[in-house]
């Protein structure tokens, strides 16, 4: 695909009319994926033969005039913590290097029904824990705008696939910004749906009260199409919501003049990078120029979000990752005399440093004597953060913030300082705590040519509204035509 970034609508038209074939699109994607060493380890597995077979089937349907919809025959990459029947799902961990899923996740089932061609599984921070994709057991991923910088994380490679034009669409997962932050760093669109909007059945659990699956795309319209396909009730995830799914591609066309846009005063308290602040102000002006009205809102508990988030995600991770014990699905340490040693040695050899750090932090905050002080306190602050947002949305329709306090940072810059790494989640993690939907849309470049992202937050189940603002804004910008 190289420099061209055709929309799914364009590809749909060309595939329907026989001007383009899915086998050609898929072959291009696979070739590009195989020739992308300069971007680091993007794929943990490529489905060469099986993807081509799926593409041929899509071309057959097109020939017979029986296309399944706009995604039929479109190449897509998925993050390696989302399982697909008969495919490896390593989660970026040595521990699961040989794990082959016996079933399809909900989202993979939906993609298959829609005829999408899954080209492979993308690299990630181990078990989705990280903000730079440097915590993968299989090597780093590089930012296509500057190969000495990180792509963001944890869904870094999914973001790079879209940014570099390897696939027009990809899926990532979010716990505290793992779709939006890499979208911002790589100059693409990333969506975090409302908690409960997309079933997590078949997403390897990290922190179950925060996790959501979300799309990446170059065009906002394409993210809307993909979200339409994967959203909706699924009985296999008990948190999956029953609310009817909006017609996102149609909703986003509604003009945004008169829309009330909330700007958060309390963010000035945080030390936002100067270039990021300037970029944000310019983006706000552009959205005003589209007819939106700005109002000031207050989120007084926002500054506690990162601390609260790290208590809750670590606590839930320590519980979720207890299942990896060397008995049922993971590799097993050869060094064991009894069952206890088997557990301990398998986990010690299987997990990487960041995962161990989070499991231990989570174990600590849940342990006797500390539960109320840390986990209990964090759950109360979480309540206050959600209340802040509910009050703010009484005064506005969407809230704008930068997606990240800074542009993509150099590889290795924060690796030895986990707290600095955690702080880059400041604008995104609060959204997962509150369960709200949010979109990151490219908002221009720094002087060094690195992308920034604008975050658009909406009330529960109003992802169509956030996508609408993102769509109109993207259409008004010049950098939609910039390429890495």
């Amino acid at each position: 695909m190289d420099k061209a970034r055709p929309s799914i609508k364009d590809l749909h038209a060309r595939l329907s009319q026989g001007e383009t074939k899915s086998v050609d699109l898929t072959q291009q994607s696979l070739d590009h994926a195989k020739n992308s060493d300069s971007l680091g380890t993007l794929f943990l597995s490529l489905r060469e033969g099986r993807a081509m077979a799926a593409a041929e089937a899509a071309d057959q349907r097109a020939k017979q005039g029986k296309r399944l919809g706009p995604l039929d025959g479109i190449p897509i990459a998925i993050k390696d913590n989302i399982v697909m029947k008969d495919e490896v799902a390593t989660c970026g961990s040595q521990f699961l290097r040989d794990y082959v899923s016996p079933y399809d996740s909900h989202v993979v089932g939906k993609l298959k029904e829609a005829g999408a061609v899954i080209i492979g599984k993308t690299n990630l921070d181990e078990f989705a824990m990280g903000s730079s994709n440097e915590h993968s057991a299989y090597g780093v991923v590089r930012n296509p705008w500057d190969r000495d910088r990180v792509p963001g994380g944890s869904s870094g490679a999914s973001a790079v696939c879209v940014a570099a034009g390897i696939a027009p669409l990809s899926l990532g997962s979010e716990t505290g910004g793992s779709v939006r932050q890499p979208a911002s760093f790589c100059g693409v669109v990333g969506v975090k749906p409302t908690y409960g909007r997309v079933s997590r059945y078949g997403l390897v659990a990290f922190a179950s009260s925060l996790d959501q699956i979300g799309p990446f795309s170059w065009w906002v319209e394409d993210a809307a199409l993909l979200l339409q396909v994967i959203a909706g009730r699924d009985e296999r995830d008990s948190t999956s919501a029953a609310q009817a799914v909006d017609d996102y591609p149609q909703t986003i066309q509604k003009p945004i003049d008169g829309l009330r846009v909330g700007l958060v005063r309390d963010f000035t308290a945080t030390d936002l990078d100067a270039a990021a602040e300037k970029n944000f102000s310019t983006a706000v002006e552009a959205i005003r120029g589209l007819g939106a009205k700005t109002v000031e809102v207050s989120l007084p508990h926002l500054k506690y979000a990162v601390g609260c988030y790290y208590v809750i995600n670590s606590a839930e991770a320590s519980a979720n990752l207890a299942r990896f014990d060397g008995v049922r699905y993971t590799s097993r340490s050869k060094d064991h005399g009894n069952l206890k040693d088997l557990f301990v040695n398998s986990r010690t050899q299987g997990f990487g440093v960041e995962v161990k750090r989070r499991i231990m932090l989570g174990t600590y905050v849940l342990s006797a004597g500390y539960y109320d002080a840390y986990y209990g306190k964090a759950c109360k602050i979480r309540h206050l953060i959600r209340e802040d947002f509910i009050k703010a949305f009484a005064k506005c329709d969407v809230i704008l913030t930068p997606t990240s306090p800074c542009e993509a940072f150099p590889l290795g810059a924060k690796l030895e300082n986990p707290l600095q790494m955690y702080l880059s989640d400041v604008f995104t993690a609060s959204i997962n705590l509150a369960g709200l939907p949010a979109v990151s849309v490219p908002s221009g470049f720094s002087e060094q040519g690195l992308p920034f992202g604008l975050q658009i937050i909406a009330p529960d189940f109003a992802e169509g509204r956030a996508l609408g603002v993102a769509h109109h804004y993207q259409q008004s910008t010049d950098w939609k035509d910039m390429r890495p």
Binding site: P102, Y103, A241, V311, R347, H383, Y422
Partner: protein, 136 residues
């Protein structure tokens, strides 16, 4: 009980933390802003080893200092939550509102076959996961 008021923790580690050097959210912030001071530790090396044992993880002797340092930096940052009075606040364990998560009917559904379930087992015997002998 909040973090600062946790008496047993307080006595064990004698935490007196200056809160003047607040972490900054900027990417440009020098790492030195979180410099580690041994006398101000919330959690000591022995505590880190105790937690690791609870989590079924072994920490090598060469790794203890590193984990202890990270732990204290992170816990110091988390302690800012104590600024908030939460006595009258209820807890949010998840963000979903009640009606959005209906229960499904409790009817049997097809599940994975034994073969599928055992496919990823590192060791198996017949239809079982194989583990070292537990009972002597």
């Amino acid at each position: 009980m909040d973090v600062a008021g946790n008496r047993s923790n307080w006595r064990r580690t004698q935490v007196v933390r200056e809160r003047s050097a607040k972490p900054s959210f900027a990417g440009s912030n020098p790492a030195g802003a979180f410099s580690y001071e041994v006398e101000k530790m919330r959690v000591g090396k022995e505590e880190v080893l105790r937690i690791a044992a609870l989590a079924h993880i072994k920490i090598e002797p060469g790794e203890i200092d590193h984990y202890t340092k990270n732990f204290n930096e992170i816990l110091d940052f988390i302690a800012q939550m104590n600024e908030v009075d939460t006595k009258q606040v209820s807890s949010a364990f998840h963000p979903a509102s009640e009606p959005s998560t209906p229960m499904r009917a409790d009817t049997p559904q097809p599940s994975l076959t034994t073969e599928e379930v055992l496919r990823n087992a590192p060791e198996r015997f017949a239809d079982y996961f194989l583990v070292p002998k537990v009972v002597e």
